[in-house]
């Protein structure tokens, strides 16, 4: 019997997601954002989610749409403002959604640390700023650092360019961004790939995320492009 992590149906891919789950969402802006998986999550209906992502959605597609459906109770991100980030802004201004702002590099490193089994680390980023308040300080070689803790998740929603049935992933250009480190940090990594190929078609030298970090994969041949979707006024559902 062969290992095969590929699912045909979105409902099979998302079947383990539960209310109150912490979910990492790959992408930086629209590049690498798993829009179809987020729409699948809207259909699934899980609520009270904590989302870890760089942004908090744009327009009414993908993460913006998930927030619009009031399925998210908290967002942990570095930059929750987008030109058309209406759904998050609306709920934030009404006090309906929690926000934890994290410097972008600290966010990336907290995610990386979780995937690498490192519970925390010291960093110079944010020392002396409001985002260091309440954090343990330590001096190394005369310079001040703050303690930051690893960020774990129950699930990661990942967008890749190519996968095989093992979940060996290759990304496209700057759509790589948070996807490889989130794949490593979550208990369950769920992937949408534009193309699923035979294992001997992924060059072992070029695999960015080795399959050990991936649990389930679905093929989405022509994913939505956020900019075009927003221009065309697409909303989901």
């Amino acid at each position: 019997m062969q290992i095969n992590k590929v699912k045909e149906k979105m409902t099979d891919l998302l079947s383990d997601v539960f209310d109150g789950a912490t979910i990492m969402v790959g992408g930086f802006g629209e590049a690498g954002s798993p829009i179809e998986l987020l729409h699948g999550l809207i259909d699934h209906g899980a609520k009270n989610l904590t989302i870890i992502a760089n942004n908090a959605g744009n327009g009414n597609v993908g993460l913006g749409a998930l927030i619009g459906q009031k399925q998210v109770k908290k967002v942990i991100c570095s930059f929750p403002r987008s030109p058309k980030g209406i759904t998050f802004a609306d709920q934030y201004n009404k006090g309906e959604i929690e926000l934890e702002v994290v410097p972008q590099g600290t966010l990336a490193e907290r995610i990386r640390a979780a995937g690498a089994g490192i519970p925390g680390f010291y960093t110079a980023t944010a020392v002396g700023t409001p985002l260091a308040e309440g954090k343990e300080e330590k001096i190394f070689n005369g310079k001040k650092y703050i303690l930051e803790e690893a960020l774990h998740a129950d699930f990661a929603l990942i967008k890749a360019e190519v996968s095989d049935r093992y979940g060996n992933l290759v990304y496209n250009k700057t759509a790589r961004n948070f996807n490889p480190i989130m794949s490593m940090a979550a208990k369950n990594t769920l992937v949408q790939a534009k193309e699923i190929v035979q294992p001997n078609f992924t060059n072992p030298e070029h695999v960015i995320t080795p399959g050990i970090f991936v649990q389930k994969i679905i093929e989405v041949k022509e994913p939505i492009i956020e900019t075009i979707a927003i221009e065309e006024g697409l909303t989901y559902p």
Binding site: P80, A108, T125, T227
Partner: protein, 218 residues
């Protein structure tokens, strides 16, 4: 607090001239991160006697200019989420590696804008204290880059000095700024104040002192 009547604000260098001054101070072979907005102008003024490598913190080293309309690829964007290109010799990496370039002290220069800069080199440029807080990579850049250059107007439109004794806005970093390029002067931050490296010919040192809090010296 210094507050000049807006009718008495002297005209300084335009933004292109400031960008050119910064470009001339970036050495051959430097790895540089340019902030979104005004700092992006710097790349237009790099002379042919040097090659500069641009880093975009979303995971691109060797960033090139904007693409033509028919070459836009929404998977190839910069930190401002605008389509860009990659130059020969460029590379992609994930976010933790990209920020290791910053946090690990590998980026030689970052150039960014400011709301306030203190005489101690504190920078405030991410939050007015109102609205939805959003920091992005600014705190990592100022903490990690070897040289932090600030490109800014000396005074706000209302005539308030941006160069202050103590920042009143939330800090991006404490004691992080290396040099300030304003429309009035180029100033190095030293242990004893703002050291003037270059003064706009329309501006006297006395005027510069009158629009700058903290010690200004030549």
């Amino acid at each position: 607090m210094i507050n000049i009547n807006s009718n008495n604000i002297l005209k300084g260098w335009d933004r292109n001239t400031i960008a050119e001054k910064i470009a001339n101070d970036l050495p051959h072979g430097a790895y540089v991160n340019l902030g979104i907005g005004m700092p992006e102008l710097v790349s237009q003024y790099i002379k042919d006697d040097r090659e500069i490598i641009y880093h975009s913190e979303n995971g691109l080293l060797g960033m090139g200019p904007s693409p033509n309309e028919n070459e836009i690829d929404y998977d190839l964007i910069n930190a401002g989420k605008k389509p860009v290109t990659i130059l020969p010799g460029g590379s992609f990496c994930h976010h933790a590696d990209s920020f290791s370039m910053i946090r690990g002290g590998h980026i030689d220069y970052c150039v960014l804008g400011a709301m306030e800069i203190s005489v101690k080199g504190d920078l405030a440029n991410w939050s007015t204290g109102k609205g939805i807080p959003a920091v992005g990579g600014a705190m990592d850049l100022v903490a990690g880059a070897k040289n932090v250059f600030v490109m800014t107007q000396h005074l706000t439109k209302e005539g308030k000095s941006k160069l202050v004794k103590e920042c009143s806005l939330p800090l991006t970093g404490a004691n992080v700024v290396s040099r300030v390029y304003s429309d009035y002067a180029v100033m190095q931050i030293t242990d004893i104040g703002f050291k003037v490296l270059q003064l706009n010919t329309n501006i006297t040192l006395d005027y510069l002192k009158s629009v700058t809090e903290g010690n200004v010296y030549q």
